[in-house]
Symmetry: none
Subunit: 226 residues, 2 copies
DNA sequence: GTCTTCGATCAGTAAAACTTTCATGATTTG
DNA sequence: CAAATCATGAAAGTTTTACTGATCGAAGAC
């Protein structure tokens, strides 16, 4: 399970990290709000542990941004020394999925994390299907693609191609793979449709934006990396 | 929101019930575990508030039965005076979605309930027999459709088609999906009924009105978006 | 019982949108 | 630098969709 841990106190952060890694989870640490927010919106985590009192941007703001502006619906467990009812209510109202006050027992943190991800696992059965890379967001339900909050219109084939590349993020896919999975043909290499479509796709999702998304690996295929 | 409250202490139960009803929720009370379990498995609630220490069958057992045997995945908020870490861990491990210890502030209970149901509440429609999009209202009980307060008469097939589209609001549905769910055929007979019916539907619900409702997504299907 | 009406479906057409091919130029690799 | 590989523009080919008119059958009217 991929966990994003946004917590500035070194001792607490490494205590949690160590504990979670012992359970076989993958922990990414962020020590301030701004970086945490950036990471959370770029990478797909299974759950986010978010301290309220952190430098840069406080936890409430980070949570609000993620849940209410960026449309990220990774479950968030808020963590803090502020234990008053009002603090808890604010946190939960703004979109946090659970709230735990310090000091806490690691056991309880772990149990709450599991309850959280169990809940979302169920939800994902018919929930939103979203793929991301950098600032590009692909919604498999509405078939919409956005980059930097601008809408990008793709044709059915372009969409399928991008979807395939994203589902294989961080892996080089060969032309044969693409032909089989996007065009659904098992032979015929006497064509350059793929090249042409890569060109179409790049024009739409890269031209006018700061960074490249699709990388060519000469002699091997194409890849999309975070 | 429909809430099932399993709690034997009269005072606590009515305190919670009253508070929730003030918020416009519908509360069903159960005063022991056996009845609670029965109710939970028969009716569809949005959330269950479950005290651990109750007569008949304790809360842990009820939760275990529901989540692990009966396949009910209504979110459960556990409630109890037992506040040790181990109790909390047990509760969460067995399938509870949140855990609150007595005494608690009603505000916090409410916030936790909302956090818990935020997602499932959206997807369920809650037995509501009314579907809406923009100024169009579809009543599944009376089978009436109104737009801008004007009645629109749909035939059975048109109604079913619109109903399916609305139930999948904000998702692109393919012709295959439509054929399976509205016409109930699993194979693709080379027909254009769907196109024809879309045309009928659009004539009735869009002609003479200001905005379009049904959007075509070429090569993929149709979608209705808010 | 026959007629009428209405809904469901099919078939056909034109226009628009999309896909593929082909030809050519650019880039990378050994 | 030559061969292989990739990028790109434009034209040709194909599919998809919106819409119309015709047919068929069932339910109710007379």
């Amino acid at each position: 399970m991929k966990v994003l841990l946004i917590e500035d106190e070194q001792s607490v952060s490494s205590f949690i990290k160590k504990g979670l890694e012992e359970q076989g989870h993958l922990v990414t640490q962020a020590f301030d709000g701004t970086i945490g927010l950036k990471l959370a919106s770029q990478e797909d985590f299974d759950v986010i542990i978010l301290d309220v009192v952190i430098p840069g941007m406080n936890g409430i703001e980070v949570c609000d941004q993620l849940k209410n502006n960026l449309g990220v619906n990774t479950p968030i467990l808020m963590l803090t020394a502020l234990g008053t009812t009002d603090d808890i209510v604010t946190g939960l109202e703004i979109g946090a999925d659970d709230y735990l006050t310090k000091p806490f027992k690691f056991k309880e943190l772990l149990a709450r994390l599991n309850a959280l991800t169990r809940r979302t696992a169920i939800r994902n059965g018919d929930g939103k299907q979203i793929l991301r890379v950098k600032d590009l967001v692909m919604n498999l339900d509405t078939k919409e693609v956005h980059r930097d909050n601008k809408e990008i219109r793709l044709t059915a084939r372009e969409f399928k191609l991008l979807e395939y590349l994203l589902k294989n993020k961080n892996r080089v896919v060969s032309r044969t793979d693409i032909l089989e999975n996007v065009w659904e043909v098992d032979f015929d290499l006497g064509t350059n449709v793929i090249d042409v479509y890569m060109n179409y796709l790049r024009k739409k999702i890269e031209h006018g934006f700061s960074s490249k998304i699709i990388k060519t690996v000469i002699g091997m295929g194409y890849i999309i990396k975070d």
